[in-house]
């Protein structure tokens, strides 16, 4: 388990090192926890629960029991009158009155890498420009100088971790593969004193490097990056990554899984003021034995997601935190001979809660039965009612976070780009938030 034990750099030691590096510690000191500021006045955060591999809408948020495409799953009533979801999500069923459920999200990509790139950025993968993930845009647009740890974090081992793209790789998510258990590369492995001696030597060599190269410090940012890395190694805020002080009843409620711990760490990071966190859950690519595969993963998702929503609400953080549960594409209505479902980008579901999104809203409807035709690749696909595209959803999320979705940024190749490629759907937002956005 990760502990800031004797081998981790102490704050005082780090300040000494930074002084040795000839660097003024110009960043403001740590404030009281940003969590002190609750509700509306808090800058918004975004937690994305990434269902890696393609979560089946039919076994989760959009079941069609007793139809040819429905499979074996049953539906259960939820806290939102008239709304039914899969029996695999009993705890979430009690939370549905708090969320916006979109059953008609559409994508253009049915391949994992391309689908993930599209759903993470809102833009199709193209060879000449890498688009930033939604979380990278949020972190880039809403910086908080008091946060000493990265503003964009990915928890869990996701193949397609969120990148900074054209915003620069400094906006790539900081990756923690085993949340709550260990942080890699944050321990110096030597005593404070020895680290100070190392830093002293490094400072000497770095100064020699910059001596006859007038813009070296500015161009390379080398000393600055080392300074920030040292600051992070010594930051009290790193505790947000640990779970030692969480009561066991809480850790149990999230579920003793990597994803459950990730969701709990995500809540702690939001409290410190981290802008965007992705928690990923693998294992949804159920080409074989879909029913069982989706069930196992839904059972991991259910307690973690519902506890996260409950805890955020209990701590007055849900109004300022958007929680988005999304996947790269849905799965085919048709069940294949291996009892699996294949990739289906034509419609799939996502859940958005908090941060100004409406409660108890259900958007879109999908055909209950499309029979064999739906999976015939040569025939046009039926369409869901009231479709929402990924760019529309992301423009709405950006607006809800107070970021202008249509701000243009000049990319490294000189092409001006907007953060989102569609206008927001303000009907997804609460009246107050929508009015604020429009004004």
């Amino acid at each position: 388990m990760f502990r800031p034990d004797t081998r981790t750099v102490r704050r005082r030691g780090a300040l000494g090192m930074m002084a040795a590096l000839g660097l003024s510690v110009s960043l403001p000191g740590m404030s009281a926890r940003a969590a002190a500021r609750r509700k509306e006045e808090r800058p918004r955060s975004l937690i994305t629960l990434w269902m890696n591999g393609g979560q089946s809408q039919l076994e989760t948020w959009d079941p069609h029991p007793d139809t040819p495409s429905g499979g074996q799953v049953k539906s259960i009533p939820t806290s939102q009158p008239g709304l039914q979801i899969s029996e695999f999500l009993p705890q979430m069923a009690e939370q549905m009155h708090k969320v916006t459920l979109i059953r008609s999200l559409t994508s253009l990509e049915g391949d994992h890498a391309r689908g993930a790139a599209y759903v993470k950025t809102g833009y199709r993968l193209e060879p000449t420009l890498v688009y930033p993930a939604l979380g990278a845009i949020a972190a880039h647009q809403l910086p908080d100088p008091k946060v000493e740890i990265p503003q964009h974090v990915a928890l869990g081992a996701d193949n397609f971790f969120p990148r900074g793209g054209y915003l620069g790789n400094e906006w790539d998510a900081f990756r923690v593969f085993d949340p709550g258990r260990s942080l890699t590369n944050l321990r110096a492995g030597v005593s404070d004193e020895r680290l100070q001696q190392r830093v002293k030597g490094l400072d000497l060599v770095s100064r020699q490097f910059a001596k006859a190269r007038p813009t070296a410090d500015r161009d390379t940012q080398h000393a600055e990056t080392v300074r920030r890395a040292l600051k992070m190694m010594s930051s009290e805020q790193l505790k947000a990554f640990e779970l030692d002080d969480e009561p066991s009843v809480v850790t149990r409620a999230y579920g003793d899984t990597r994803f459950g711990r990730g969701c709990l760490v995500a809540r702690r990071l939001v409290e410190v003021g981290v802008r965007a966190i992705e928690v990923s859950l693998n294992g949804f690519d159920t080409h074989v034995n879909n029913h069982e595969g989706q069930k196992t993963q839904a059972e991991i998702l259910d307690p973690a997601f519902s506890t996260l929503l409950t805890e955020l609400q209990d701590r007055d953080l849900l109004d300022s935190t958007i929680v988005l549960c999304i996947t790269e594409f849905g799965r085919t209505p048709r069940i294949n001979p291996a009892k699996g479902r294949d990739h289906w980008p034509h419609w799939f579901s996502c859940v958005v809660a908090g941060g100004g999104f409406r409660s108890g809203l259900v958007v879109g409807e999908t055909p209950a039965d499309i029979g064999e035709d739906g999976s015939d690749r040569d025939k046009p696909k039926p369409k869901p009612a009231d479709p929402i595209t990924v760019p529309q959803l992301y423009a709405t999320i950006l607006q809800a976070m107070g970021i202008s979705w249509d701000d243009e940024i000049i990319t490294p190749i000189g092409r001006p780009m907007r953060f989102a490629d569609a206008a927001p759907e303000t009907r997804l937002l609460t009246e107050g938030r929508a009015a604020e956005v429009i004004s």
């Binding site: 890699t184 390379t220 990056t225």
Partner: protein, 589 residues
């Protein structure tokens, strides 16, 4: 034990030994030629390039920086051609060669070394197919790389290489070039002609027309129909179980390339068409062969300019025009010709050979300039850097970073002659490191800033920890044991990691640290001897024993806040850590 078992064991051991020996005797290391032959003399071409550069600097009112020392140039070449810093072993031999043309001769040696095609083929493979994994069964990146490597080793003309990539037939396993085509295969849909058209123009003509797939290019004269016309050249290519071929008929119908416009039910036939200079196309051969003839036509300056910009980028880390594959159309007026025209013309006149182009760039003034200047004017320095009047500071790419760390961790050169374990260690470390550090993906020449996780990985990661160890086989350990005095110890560490001598301040600082450790160690030993534990810590003769060195240099037995003096091994290890984390290490300079 039964005799049969003994024989079997002996056989297994013998077989293993045989394999290890075989793997170790790959080929004799390349030597620099004693003298350059007349045909290796490229001075005239170099002087034409330099003339252009000097004129440019003079027009801009810039006085170029002084020349870099040979060791620095050697490091640049090694990073560009082998992806690592040179080994201490190589540096020592290089320094012993005192002739004035040693750089030119060593450059030939480096091009003849197997490390060059192996490293450079990976760079080219990324340009051709990106880093997407593609369809596993029919896309074999390793075969493409091996094929490119063979072309590079044989210095095959670039136009021939390009032709085989665009127009080659055959099975992706036996014909590595066919993977350029199969990389664009999409499951259930077949070849993506648009992707191939975009890649062809970017890789071989250095221009981007991808956006013209959906609309006319916003700033350039590329039209959507240009894109479609180029894609149509790939319209008859098919991936069959027998390999990549072009087919004229399918199901008794002629194959045509069709584009379905948005909202339309059926497609319209698009004939193959090039956007300019139709007369360059040969009328014979398959559509792909026709396209290749147009792309590589001797008068198609884009073809030469594109590779000149690319190789310039790989040599410096920054292309002449950035982005590397977004070049404007070439100027028609000879007075407006730029450096790429000069390089391209020389390259073309010398058989379109990449070895020549690399040597031409490496011998140009721009490559030989120092990155240091005796002035403090930031604005002027930036301008000089933009105009290549000073060698630009460019961050090492991830693979150069781990390659250099791994090489600096060994005194001997890590190449095809290294033993199996060393090579395997490098391979696994490299992929592991790239996963954490972040791979540069397709656009390797995109200038990116360093990140905090990267700094943390360099400072605290297992790679730094392992490669700075002072054990008997590591570079730090061997340098510590065999350097003679403290001054040469510090010097050897600097040479192994940074390919430069320490400056007087640096030498004084680290020598003092070593001497302090020496005194402290004697004191500790004395105290230990007094209380009877001395033999555990030191050799009987009073010199620091290896066992002391290795255990005391360990990082994990340290407790926080203790103020025990560092041992000599710890000081060496810390020096190595400093050098690994210094800007000198992670920047091309």
């Amino acid at each position: 034990m039964k005799p049969l078992a003994v024989v079997f064991c002996l056989f297994v051991v013998g077989l293993l030994l045989f394999l290890v020996i075989k793997a170790g005797e790959a080929e004799a290391p390349q030597r620099a030629p004693a003298k350059l032959s007349t045909e290796q003399d490229i001075d005239e071409s170099v002087s034409r390039v330099n003339q252009w550069l000097r004129q440019r600097w003079s027009d801009e009112g810039l006085e170029p920086a002084g020349l870099a020392d040979d060791l620095t140039v050697y490091r640049r070449l090694s990073l560009a051609l082998h992806g690592t810093v040179p080994s201490l072993e190589e540096i020592t031999t290089f320094m012993a060669d005192t002739s004035t043309d040693r750089i030119e001769r060593w450059l030939l040696k480096m091009l003849a070394d197997r490390r060059f095609p192996e490293y450079f083929s990976d760079r080219l493979a990324r340009v051709l197919t990106g880093v997407e994994e593609g369809q596993f069964v029919i896309f074999r990146r390793d075969r493409l790389r091996d094929w490119l490597s063979d072309q590079l080793a044989a210095d095959r003309p670039w136009n021939e290489t390009a032709t085989e990539l665009i127009a080659g037939d055959g099975l992706w396993t036996s014909q590595g070039n066919a993977n350029f085509i199969t990389a664009a295969f999409v499951d259930k849909e077949g070849l993506d002609e648009n992707k191939l058209a975009g890649r062809t123009v970017r890789a071989f003509l250095g221009q981007r027309i991808d956006c013209a797939q959906c609309h006319d290019h916003p700033f350039d004269s590329w039209k959507q129909q240009d894109f479609e016309g180029l894609a149509a050249f790939y319209g008859q290519a098919r991936v069959t179980p027998g390999g990549v071929i072009d087919r004229l008929m399918e199901e008794k119908k002629p194959i045509e390339f069709e584009v379905i416009d948005p909202g339309e039910e059926s497609g319209r036939v698009v004939p193959p068409r090039v956007p300019f200079h139709e007369e360059w196309i040969t009328t014979e051969g398959s559509r792909r062969q026709q396209l290749a003839s147009w792309v590589t036509h001797p008068e198609n300056r884009r073809f030469d300019r594109a590779i000149a910009n690319r190789i310039w980028g790989l040599m410096f880390g920054r292309s002449w025009y950035d982005p590397v594959d977004d070049l404007r159309h070439p100027e028609e007026n000879p007075e407006d010709e730029d450096l790429l025209d000069v390089l391209g013309r020389e390259f073309h006149a010398h058989g379109s050979r990449l070895h020549f182009l690399i040597r031409l760039i490496a011998q140009s003034d721009a490559f030989r300039l120092s990155s240091e200047v005796p002035l403090a004017d930031e604005e002027l320095y930036s301008r000089m850097s933009r105009e290549w009047a000073v060698f630009p500071l460019v961050r090492l790419r991830p693979e150069q970073m781990i390659g250099s760390m791994f090489q600096a961790g060994s005194v001997n050169t890590i190449d095809q002659n290294s033993n199996l374990f060393v090579r395997f260690g490098r391979f696994t470390n490299e992929s592991d490191f790239l996963k954490q550090y972040g791979d540069a993906a397709d656009d390797e020449l995109l200038q990116q800033s360093g990140t905090i996780p990267q700094a943390l990985l360099r400072m605290n990661g297992k790679f730094t920890r392992g490669l700075t160890e002072t054990g008997p086989f590591s570079a730090a350990g061997r340098i510590m044991r065999f350097s003679g005095d403290d001054e040469s110890l510090v010097q050897n560490c600097f040479l192994a990691c940074l390919t430069r001598h320490p400056r007087p301040e640096e030498r004084a600082f680290f020598v003092a640290e070593l001497q302090q450790a020496g005194t402290a160690e004697v004191k500790v030993r004395k105290e230990a001897l007094d209380d009877g534990t001395g033999t555990l810590l030191t050799g009987a003769d009073g010199t620091p024993a290896d066992s002391t060195a290795t255990t005391a240099a360990g990082e994990d037995n340290q407790q926080n806040g203790t103020s025990e003096p560092r041992s000599r091994a710890e000081v060496v290890r810390d020096l190595y850590w400093v050098l690994f984390n210094s800007p000198d290490f992670s920047w091309n300079r």
